[in-house]
Symmetry: C2
Subunit: 333 residues, 2 copies
């Protein structure tokens, strides 16, 4: 084996904005599998906004990555060797192998992928954790009904794009919010949302109101910040807000104040946060349902691929700033 194990380690915890200085790239010898483990060669590593939380020591729903440890993340890999006999060399698998070229992980925790059924990277995006997140937030919390207005922020992203398509299948009128004319055009033309509003426009709040002449009945929150402030006054009585994330605020050293909550009573609103891993059934339901839509050509997605692990830190910083365009994936060269 001639390739080194390139690995991206957490060097320091960011106080505010994440930058390359918080990471360290090292080249080591590939690991040797211990009993029960398979040796993997990662092909694609997923970059997702939740990883910002793992970089902080603040209390959250998962333990932070330790300083000096490899950054966590899901990957699509090929098996180099599996002494347990579960997998053959060259098999494609999905696992949580981190930002590194090689990893030795428990073979029992890997899921085999069929490259003939769907492109393997869909297991990281549209049919994977992000798509399943969209499925849970839309069907269990936002609960759009036919004829209602459903709004989703980060609409060109890995979660938002799927959320809007699911809501559209449920009969809602879907309005996306995305950053910049290019993303908005993609959301309208490729994803097929009837409207998409550019949150970078100076008159964004007015445009959003114009795009939602009958108000907003459900909102899928990925962004927070100024987008959230524009959405809240438009919420109708009995509106539901699914809180998936607030990526615009992940780099804030101090949390900004939120909206006054009196409107919750006046309008009988429901605001509910969720984390996809609390919904294990969805990990069986969504790949089956979404996989069928994908094969019919009825589910669209876009990937934003970055070449080389050494470029993962900058790509991740860009993800938090909205510079990605579609599901961000690092191709491990």
């Amino acid at each position: 084996m001639t390739e080194s194990n390139r690995r991206i380690l957490l060097r320091a915890r960011p106080e505010g904005r994440v930058g390359p200085e918080h990471f360290e790239t090292v080249d080591e010898a590939p690991p040797s599998p211990r009993p029960g483990e398979a040796l993997l060669r990662n092909r694609f590593v997923s970059l997702d906004p939740y990883m910002r939380g793992r970089m902080s020591a603040a209390k959250s729903y998962s333990a932070p990555v330790e300083i000096g440890a490899v950054m966590e993340g899901q990957s699509v890999a090929q098996v180099v060797e599996d002494p347990t006999g579960r997998f053959g060399a060259g098999d494609w698998v999905l696992g949580g192998a981190g930002w590194q070229r090689f990893s030795a992980v428990p073979a029992a925790g890997l899921r085999k992928l069929d490259p003939g059924a769907a492109p393997v990277t869909t297991a990281l995006g549209v049919l994977g954790m992000p798509g399943t997140t969209a499925w849970v937030g839309v069907t269990e919390i936002a609960s759009p009904r036919p004829g209602e207005t459903f709004v989703v922020s980060a609409a060109s992203g890995a979660v938002g794009g799927v959320a809007g398509q699911i809501a559209g299948r449920m009969g809602a009128r879907v309005v996306g919010i995305a950053g910049g004319p290019e993303k908005c055009a993609f959301v309208r033309e490729e994803l097929g949302f009837p409207e998409c509003v550019d949150h970078r426009a100076p008159d964004f709040a007015d445009r959003l109101a114009a795009a939602c002449p009958e108000g907003i009945d459900s909102y899928f929150e990925n962004v927070g910040g100024a987008v959230q402030r524009a959405v809240f006054p438009l919420l109708n009585d009995f509106a539901r807000v699914a809180f998936c994330g607030m990526v615009a605020e992940y780099n804030d050293a101090e949390p900004a104040p939120g909206p006054n909550l009196m409107a919750l009573v006046r309008k009988r609103l429901k605001l509910q946060g969720f984390i996809v891993r609390d919904h294990p059934r969805a990990f069986a339901d969504w790949p089956r349902i979404g996989g069928a839509w994908l094969r019919e050509g009825a589910l669209k997605y876009r990937e934003d691929r970055v070449q080389g692990l050494e470029n993962a830190p900058e790509a991740f910083a860009g993800l938090l700033a909205g510079r990605n365009f579609g599901k961000l994936i690092v191709e491990v060269t």
Copy 2:
């Protein structure tokens, strides 16, 4: 008939704090019933925080009281005459007759009260709209489970006192929040909550944390403001917050910012507002269930009675400032 019809009219819309200057007391001749109406002599008029919303022209779930119109509100009355024949003279009824001594109202909208079954004023409080509000918020939103910690603010009030007792019957450990040592003593000793924390104490937030050593699993919000700010950091993962009202903020001319909502995702919180009239079934369920508890001596309540309609404006201003102690009722002299 020698008594005048004393009436309290809305004179001006308050911009901030409500005071007597926003009301006008007039004495007029009693009305004559039109076809379908009964003439009532009000005995008890209910004062409730929601009436603050009716004084404002701001968009809300109900139309505002017009300037120069009588203040709205429920009352317990005796029938003077009912040309429709539904009720006899002297019958006790519950209706929405407003802040006035006499009213002529559609007889079909009145509910007959049995003074032998429960004190008639319970129809305005513990078994009426406030008690039913508690029932809905606890059983449909806060959903306390045995062994969990349930917190309720305005715990000595008409809604809060009942909410805590219902949560206690559901097996939760109930912690009240009330203003001042006298109210806290009542909540502990009379209502039987194991803990009650005085929100006027300078170290209120620390005391609340100490009273909730395992955090807060569900919260019944009546108050907002500083109480809300102390409660939010203590919410556990998967906590539910029933937003019934935010009386501490009703007089605010400008809404204060609320909490940052990132915790909704991190802790998978549910915040949900409600208005009791959206839950018609509860108006049948709660008087039956609560009435049985009351007859067993298992449901406690306290009334704060004010004599004379002319004192209603000051009493109402006191209600918004937390100066009442129990369900506030005006005895119509």
